[in-house]
Amino acid sequence: MPRQTIVIDPVTRIEGHSKISIHLDESGAVEEAYFHVTQFRGFEKFCEGRPFSEMPSLMARICGICPVSHLIASAKACDALMAVQIPPAAVKLRRVLNLAQIIQSHALSFFHLSSPDLLLGLDSDPAKRHIFGILEAHPTLAKDGIRLRQFGQQVIEWMAGKRIHPAWVVPGGVSAPLSAEHRDQTLAGIPEAIEIARRTLDWFKGILPKFKEEIDTFGNFPSLYMSLVDADGGWEHYDGGVRIIDSSGKILTFQSPGSDYPQYIGEAVEPWSYLKFPFYKPLGYPQGLYRVGPLARLNIAQRCGTTHGAPELTQFKELQKGPVSSSFHYHLARLVEILISLEKMEKLLNDPEILSPHVRAVAGANNFEGVGVSEAPRGILFHHYKINEEGLITWANLIIATGHNNLAMNFGILQVAQHFVKAKKLTEGMLNRVEAVIRTYDPCLSCSTHALGRMPLLVQLVSKEGEVLDQLQRNE
């Protein structure tokens, strides 16, 4: 039997454009699998020459789902260029905004993109396996998803003026204080949001045993993990230090400030993808594979300090001795993080300082280089800028969460393909599982396109001679 390649193009229910190719050996066994990111953005290049003060607004345009994450990391890089300490109220306001972002983005990932697989089944009819199928078959869960995402989006609008691409976070702080009215409106919505998060978490934990095979094979491998932690090693999303642990939980990097990331993070490129492949330098490429995002944050955090979140974090850690290694558990980690984020938001909003009118430090450029680090919903985010004497950007490097997970996603699809794909006869459910492992990471490839269900898909089994042996096609 000649070597063959199966191509899944595009990958559905993720943000952005990509395809997967699965290479089979002569015996029909899966030999290699690649996750190709087929779009090119170029933000690092075309911001060159722009004043650094424009960067947060420019960078927010990277993404329609998580503009707030880029806004915050970019503003922090600009704070470093200005060498200012921003007012305490501004830190708290940025934190609340970032938490709202995590809530809405995690809700989108869980309810809109992945729940069709979880509720309707990975082998269910693809004609119904999308958000509309959920709306019809499971209206209560759909309603919960709608309400939760709505809440996160609404908080972003109340605080930052608009839901998508707000410009409220600026170098030195935020552009305007929070009104008491918006604080109270947000606080009023938190109890219902916590109730929804709790209900969904309890339901999801109940159905987890049904997915034992997927838990065992969906990107379940030892790896390093990286995330921010607070001064006590607790769950962190805005400040703190960068911590890296190995697959046994041993701390490799205790509390890096982030600005020194080039010492331990390298970035490799491959000719078959536009997405870079970051790796942990001391282990080299590709052995320095690590994961970021909800799974990494919960694996690394020693505590979270919230009433509902703390027991959930403890339970999560009990799933496995040492770090939880299955990427399938990104889903569970996302739900736990929604709960933690809601509680942390409530605490911040009940601090009287949140209404302080002093929300911005003003300064010019005082450094030629600045790094901003924060946790985006999908994982740690680095913005690194260099400027000239006029304050114009001369160089920029961004390492986004999805990039950090690139090696892990590729390793994950290989593992799933080797377990589920049988070369002689392709089934839709088989290939959906290959896509579904990518969805666990909730990759955000451009965030300009939101695929919520079926997309046109052509999968061909082609012999070395070019003969189509088998084919599956979806048309819209």
Binding site: L135, Q153, M455, E476
Partner: protein, 161 residues
């Protein structure tokens, strides 16, 4: 329940596609009474079913390509369980009404006020025909809202009687 909900949607970076968004922006402060909620959005989203489920009447404002550039069209629409397209970019007002009915047991009266677009290319400006008709578009939406408000008042009076 809010008597009238206006959703003006479209991409303001794609010329006339953003006319609904521009119209909603222009109408944001038109009704300080709180009886009309105005939302400007880049696209329709499943979350909007929640708003629709709490509205007495909905007015959608959008660009369209199947009428002459600069022409206005106003038509009543009803809930339809069609368009299970995977992309939210193709999510229809009819589908939103259906989802509101299914999830929140309420499907309000709804009208789509559309403008024929002349250009959907990259750009923040409206094409000349659409720019010229923009004041008429706002006037049309205001008339529609007024009718909805009158109906809403009548219903309230009937309820009290």
């Amino acid at each position: 329940m809010i008597p009238v909900l206006i959703i003006g949607y479209g991409n303001p970076l794609r010329s006339d596609d953003g006319v609904g968004w521009h119209a909603a922006q222009a109408l944001l402060n038109e009704w300080p009474s709180g009886k009309v909620r105005v939302e400007a959005a880049h696209q329709l989203l499943p979350e909007m079913a929640d708003w629709i489920g709490e509205a007495g009447c909905v007015v959608f404002i959008d660009a369209c390509w199947d009428v002459m550039p600069g022409r206005l069209r106003s038509r009543a629409i009803h809930a339809e369980r069609t368009g299970t397209a995977p992309m939210t970019h193709q999510f229809s007002p009819q589908r939103l009404l259906a989802d509101a009915a299914h999830l929140f047991h309420h499907s309000p009266e709804a009208v789509v006020v559309s403008v024929g677009g002349g250009s959907f290319e990259h750009g923040e400006e409206l094409s000349r025909p659409v720019e010229a008709v923009f004041p008429d578009l706002l006037a049309q939406v205001k008339r529609t809202v007024q009718k909805c408000l009158v109906k809403s008042d009548c219903k309230r009076v009937e309820a009290h009687a």
